[in-house]
């Protein structure tokens, strides 16, 4: 198996990094290209850029951002938010993204996953799942769908998803650790890699998540500070997590 991965997540809107609580009360937190490059220098294994506005009007700015990141950063990155068709996804990959993430669009039309996989290959298709109480929620976690997270993850993988990005809404923002029970249930149910997301408060939380999942998404724990990523990597290595040597 490849080495466990640490993946900083950058929320963006209108070409800027934004921060807020659960996508509300957004405020500007800087230049997404510079922050991504700084995370890369601090040892990030991949990056995720998530367009939290995901509007049609914001598409040109997002495509321009993807192109700038591809030129500046030499580690892989995923773009999520606003992919509603295979043509959308292909545009992001041609602009330089390595993977696209789909969430609500795949719930509304699950066939989209297969269309993306056939055009781009499964390795470029991430299905993001937001779950509360084991139930999938769409639209940035605001709408319950009646689908079970484990069943939806299985269906997504069968349809061609190459990775599952699993966010526990219950754990998100608590800083009490990842939802290991949910993460383990999904990881046991699918043959593809799983990225755990939501709830990290410290290195031990990340270390135990990486025993269950193949990667850990890092959001609020980093506070847009690359130096925190560097210190977290040192702490994880001290805990015995075999992170790559990024030098």
């Amino acid at each position: 198996m490849p080495l466990p991965r640490l993946i900083p997540c950058l929320d963006v809107a209108g070409g800027r990094v934004v921060k807020g609580v659960r996508f509300r009360g957004l405020r500007d937190a800087g230049d997404p290209v510079a922050l991504g490059a700084a995370y890369s220098d601090a040892g990030a294994d991949e990056l995720v850029y998530l367009d939290v506005a995901a509007t049609v009007e914001g598409r040109p700015a997002l495509l321009a951002l993807v192109g700038e990141v591809a030129e500046r950063v030499s580690i892989p990155f995923t773009v999520g938010g606003g992919v509603r068709s295979a043509a959308d996804a292909e545009a992001f990959l041609r602009a330089g993204a390595d993977k696209v993430a789909v969430n609500s669009a795949a719930l509304e039309r699950p066939e989209l996953i297969g269309e993306l996989a056939r055009l781009l290959g499964s390795q470029a298709v991430v299905v993001a799942i937001d779950a509360a109480g084991g139930e999938v929620h769409s639209h940035a976690g605001t709408r319950p769908t009646g689908r079970g997270a484990v069943a939806w993850a299985q269906e997504a993988a069968q349809r061609g998803a190459g990775e599952i990005l699993l966010t526990s809404i219950d754990a998100d923002g608590t800083r009490r650790g990842y939802d290991l029970e949910l993460t383990r249930a999904v990881a046991d149910a699918v043959p593809v890699p799983v990225i755990a997301s939501g709830g990290a408060g410290g290195a031990r939380h990340v270390a135990v998540a990486l025993e269950v999942a193949q990667a850990a998404l890092l959001a609020s724990i980093l506070h847009e500070r690359p130096s925190r990523l560097a210190s977290l990597r040192r702490e994880l290595r001290a805990l015995g997590v075999p992170l790559r040597d990024a030098a």
């Binding site: 490849p2 080495l3 030499s74 041609r94 499964s122 990775e163 593809v192 990024a246």
Partner: protein
């Protein structure tokens, strides 16, 4: 140093161009067979499905250009799908004939989580490189392996890598610099 990155649709040519540009090389994405023939180094990048990619390479005359280039000793690098397409065939998409620049075939990965995504060490060599693949080469031309999987294969002036040097940070940049120095 002039690098021609073959454009066949869904590929990640822009990332490859950017990686060479960071090394000071003049790289561009092209679907012109003459540009592929004339470059100091030609690159067959790789993202997408094998059947679509191979059809586009043939339609655009790039398949013939790459074969002629390698036959003439021109330095050529295949990346990920670009390695798999260089083999005689791949099992992807129900079976697709490749460029036959390398002996062997690509088969679906059978162990671990598939797709195999992430950083893994390559031997011989130093450091980890980023992989993202569901198929892998089975070839007698292998020159490096990663966790038992062919990571690099060579025949004549062609070298193919399963990992993505353009997305493998400092280690990947060193790999591409070596390719440039040998071109």
């Amino acid at each position: 140093m002039n690098v021609a990155v073959c454009d066949y649709g869904a590929g990640n040519g822009r990332s490859v161009v950017a990686a060479f540009a960071r090394l000071g090389a003049s790289a561009s994405v092209t679907d012109d067979p003459r540009a592929v023939a004339a470059a100091d180094l030609a690159v067959l990048p790789g993202v997408g499905s094998a059947a679509t990619a191979m059809a586009r390479l043939r339609d655009r005359g790039l398949a013939d250009a790459l074969r002629a280039r390698v036959a003439g000793g021109g330095a050529t690098l295949g990346i990920c799908l670009g390695l798999q397409l260089a083999l005689e065939s791949t099992a992807e998409d129900g079976g697709v004939d490749g460029l036959a620049l390398l002996p062997g075939r690509a088969v679906r990965l059978r162990e671990g989580r598939v797709p195999r995504i992430g950083w893994a060490t390559v031997e011989p060599g130093a450091g980890a490189y980023w992989f993202a693949h569901s198929y892998a080469a089975e070839t007698p031309a292998a020159t490096a392996v990663s966790e038992g999987i062919v990571a690099e294969a060579r025949a004549g002036s062609f070298v193919g890598v399963q990992f993505h040097p353009e997305r493998s940070g400092a280690a990947g940049a060193r790999y591409l610099a070596t390719c440039l120095s040998r071109a």
